[in-house]
């Protein structure tokens, strides 16, 4: 019986039963009073107090949990949250617990994680087979070779192979910020062969945190796709010099990575579309075959949320002619703490 009390349905039935009994007793009491078998009207006061008590219990025990559950269902329907529907609600009835279990199976984190990871690798691989990327890179190598400087050809080839190796190998979810930053710098180095000194990268870290911060864990391929997005959609179209800034900050419990560019920025409808995709939980993007703008951001965001929880993830702000900022919020955890 106690176990059944967790369902709102059982609570309603129980309160209704007590209310029925109470009202019946009140009616009997009224009759007895009218026939003057009960002399004191005090029983009316007790009846009223009993009624207030039942109402209060109904409010705390039924109304509030119902409102809370309803709110969670609303958030689930609008895509704000996935986890809360499984973890946080008071079930309406026993049958709905079974429905929740089914939803949990559908939303199986491992499946989604694998799908997201595969897509992250696919997006990265797409870079490798993207003709423009390949042509531009090879053209860079060729030009360098023609000029006869073998050392730079070697450097560039090394950067390219390191990038490929990092992207394809190691299937684990988490790497250190230092490793991810190295890969990002490597990617930027390759892109610099194409853009020359037209694009510049600055990494800002608090002096006291410089060594320590690089030990923190971050999902693999979380930073490089964002930098890539900034270059392709922000800086490439910009006339003149473009600056890319990666700002690393650490708090008691969080790691905040901000990737800012001073590129062309986004139109408001595009920004709103990306923000909506980041704020609502949906895995429709996994089905997308073409490489839409912002899909990499949504992928990184969903992986972070699946790995660390819904309170972490990406935030994007952008303005035409000013640039775009992507803020990554992660829990501060080191490999040994895992």
């Amino acid at each position: 019986m106690v176990e059944k009390l967790q369902y709102i349905e059982t609570r309603i039935l129980l309160i209704a039963f007590f209310l029925g009994v109470h009202i019946s007793l009140m009616i009997v009491g009224m009759f007895l009073y009218m026939e003057e078998r009960i002399q004191s009207p005090l029983f009316l006061l007790w009846s009223l107090l009993g009624l207030i008590f039942l109402m209060a219990v109904s409010y705390w025990w039924i109304v509030l949990p119902y409102r809370r559950t309803k709110h969670i269902w609303q958030l689930f329907a609008t895509g704000y949250t996935f986890r809360s529907i499984i973890d946080e609600q008071t079930p309406l009835a026993k049958e709905l617990v079974a429905v929740n279990t089914t939803i949990q199976t559908v939303l199986n984190t491992d499946h989604l994680m694998n799908a997201s990871k595969r897509q992250a690798q696919f997006l990265a691989l797409q870079n490798q087979i993207n003709p423009h990327f390949l042509y531009n890179t090879l053209e860079g190598i060729r030009s360098e070779a023609l000029l006869g400087g073998l050392e730079s050809v070697a450097t560039m080839t090394e950067a390219l192979s390191t990038f490929f190796r990092y992207t394809i190998s190691n299937v684990e979810n988490l790497v250190t910020l230092g490793q991810e930053l190295e890969n990002t710098k490597n990617y930027f180095f390759i892109q610099q062969f194409r853009f020359g000194t037209r694009i510049k990268l600055t990494i800002l870290v608090d002096e006291e945190d410089t060594i320590d911060i690089l030990q923190y864990r971050i999902p693999k391929l979380a930073l490089q796709p964002i930098v890539e997005n900034s270059i392709i959609h922000g800086l490439e179209c910009k006339v003149g010099e473009g600056h890319l800034q990666i700002r690393l900050e650490r708090t008691q419990s969080r790691l905040i990575v901000t990737v800012s560019d001073d590129g062309v920025g986004m139109e408001l409808p595009m920004l709103e579309k990306i923000q909506k995709e980041l704020n609502t939980r949906s895995f429709d993007y996994v089905k997308h075959e073409d490489k839409e703008s912002g899909i990499a951001l949504v992928n990184v965001n969903n992986r972070i949320k699946l790995l660390f929880g819904e309170q972490y993830g990406l935030t994007v702000t952008s303005q035409k002619e000013v640039g775009t900022d992507v803020i990554i919020s992660l829990p501060a955890s080191k490999p040994e703490e895992a």
Partner: protein
């Protein structure tokens, strides 16, 4: 490692706030610039109190204090400093600081000890106050500093400074920076809320830019400049720099004088001499915040000067004179009568222009039909308190436009209003100027007043110290306010 004092993560409260992400570190001064007012009040409420959220998480000192699943409606230890001071005027500074605080359990009060402690706290701030000074005797700036100390003593997680340039003078604002730096070096965190980026940039380490209930930009120090901000406020820039509105200031003023104030003495006003020509707009900047209220009292005709004369259109000012319009500070609160309908609020100073206005319903209906475009279909409804500030402000200025005064005096018209309201107000003042209205603006800080001014009068020690013409406005180095280009 930075210590996070407050964090809002994906906070949503439709229709006011959408996906707000804000974090403040210990010892930081963070600016919050509202390009429009939507959501600012709600955001500040979320900082202060754990109200129900649609979605999101609120962390205070790294502890989850509020989220969309459970809101305990408790107050957070946050101090808000705004125009209305939290100090009690009739008590002394010591009593306000040490007795009116949580945890004060002393039954016997040793004033000498409290005064000693107060002097120790004031010493690094270079602020000198006599022992047992009543709060009522303090200047706005001194009250502000005492509130900082009170926040420090109550170990507030954060101090929100809301629109302080509307009650602290320009001179005092200049003195404020080292004081803020002192407190932030001692670990106090500030959220500086204002509408002007120049002001926020002057005080803050970094800034958040907010529009339509969303954070649209997180500005780091290297991004806190006019070039970047102009991309967000280009509508404002375009509207104020428009050629035809700039041309109206190139015309010379008429020779007739609408306001003459000569050798005026009254309380802190000492031998004040002002002359305003017909159709001229003049800003009187009292950077010490001493005489504005007193001058406004004299202009409203409530009191007379100790000596000297103050004449408007050659007569002593009178409240009943419909050729004079007076707009006090925050007119959206003080000049709206909630017991009257929107229509009556609009028309009650126009009866001298429309004969038998109150007897003739048809005339009122005809006027109402004209006004429906601006004020909607609810003209016969009473003005509810939940009408937006922009609507109420529009209502006040539309009343003045219908009244058609020849002289208008406004106190800080641009204080505490957002960019879009400022744009609307500038165009209203343009209409008044085109009608030949003589305008005197009384200001503690400049805000956008120079955009509508022909002359700037700088006041010191109760008298005019310096005058700047429109082409000389750039010579004035104030902290707050935009200047015409």
């Amino acid at each position: 490692m930075k210590e996070e004092v407050f964090r809002l993560e994906q906070v949503s409260l439709p229709p006011y706030l959408h996906d707000i992400n804000i974090h403040l570190f210990k010892g930081e001064i963070v600016g919050l610039i509202g390009l429009n007012a939507l959501g600012i009040e709600q955001l500040l409420t979320i900082f202060q109190k754990n109200i129900s959220l649609h979605y999101g998480h609120v962390y205070c000192k790294d502890e989850l204090v509020n989220d969309y699943l459970s809101s305990n409606h408790k107050q957070n230890n946050i101090t808000v400093i705004e125009r209305k001071s939290m100090l009690i005027d009739t008590l002394s500074v010591e009593e306000n600081l040490f007795i009116l605080k949580k945890g004060c359990k002393q039954h016997l009060i040793r004033y000498s000890l409290l005064s000693n402690q107060m002097q120790q706290l004031l010493a690094p701030l270079h602020l000198k106050l006599a022992n047992k000074t009543l709060v009522a005797e303090l200047t706005s700036f001194e009250k502000l500093v005492i509130q900082f100390i009170k926040a420090q003593l109550s170990r507030s997680s954060m101090v929100i400074l809301k629109d302080i340039s509307t009650f602290v003078s320009e001179i005092d604002l200049a003195k404020l920076k080292p004081i803020l730096d002192y407190f932030s070096a001692n670990g106090m965190t500030f959220l500086y809320v204002c509408n002007h980026h120049q002001e926020a940039f002057h005080f803050s380490n970094r800034c958040y830019l907010m529009r339509e209930g969303k954070i649209i930009k997180h500005l780091y120090p290297d991004q806190m400049n006019d070039t970047i901000i102009s991309q967000y406020s280009y509508e404002f820039k375009e509207s104020i720099e428009e050629g035809s509105r700039q041309d109206q200031y190139s015309k010379p003023p008429l020779s007739s004088r609408d306001l003459v104030c000569s050798n005026l003495w009254y309380h802190d006003i000492k031998q004040l001499n002002i002359e305003l020509h017909a159709g001229e707009t003049v800003v009187l900047l009292d950077s010490e915040n001493m005489i504005l209220d007193q001058l406004f009292v004299l202009l409203s005709g409530v009191d007379v000067a100790d000596s000297g004369s103050l004449l408007i259109h050659g007569k002593r000012p009178s409240l009943a004179d419909r050729s004079i319009a007076l707009v006090p500070e925050k007119p959206d609160q003080s000049l709206i009568f909630p017991q009257l309908s929107v229509m009556d609020n609009l028309l009650f100073t126009s009866d001298h222009k429309v004969p038998h206005l109150w007897l003739n319903r048809k005339r009122r209906a005809a006027l109402g039909y004209e006004l429906q475009k601006r004020f909607g279909n609810r003209l016969t409804d009473k003005v509810p308190s939940d009408f937006p500030q922009s609507y109420r402000l529009r209502l006040v200025y539309q009343r003045i436009l219908l009244q058609k005064p020849t002289f208008l005096c406004a106190v800080q018209p641009f204080a505490s209003i957002d960019m879009y309201q400022r744009m609307e107000l500038i165009s209203t003042y343009d209409v008044l100027k085109q009608r030949g209205t003589t305008i005197l603006i009384l200001a503690v800080s400049l805000s956008d007043t120079l955009q509508i001014a022909d002359r700037l009068l700088l006041c010191k020690n109760g008298q005019i110290e310096r005058q700047l013409l429109r082409h000389e406005f750039s010579q004035y180095n104030g902290i707050v306010g935009s200047r015409p280009t």
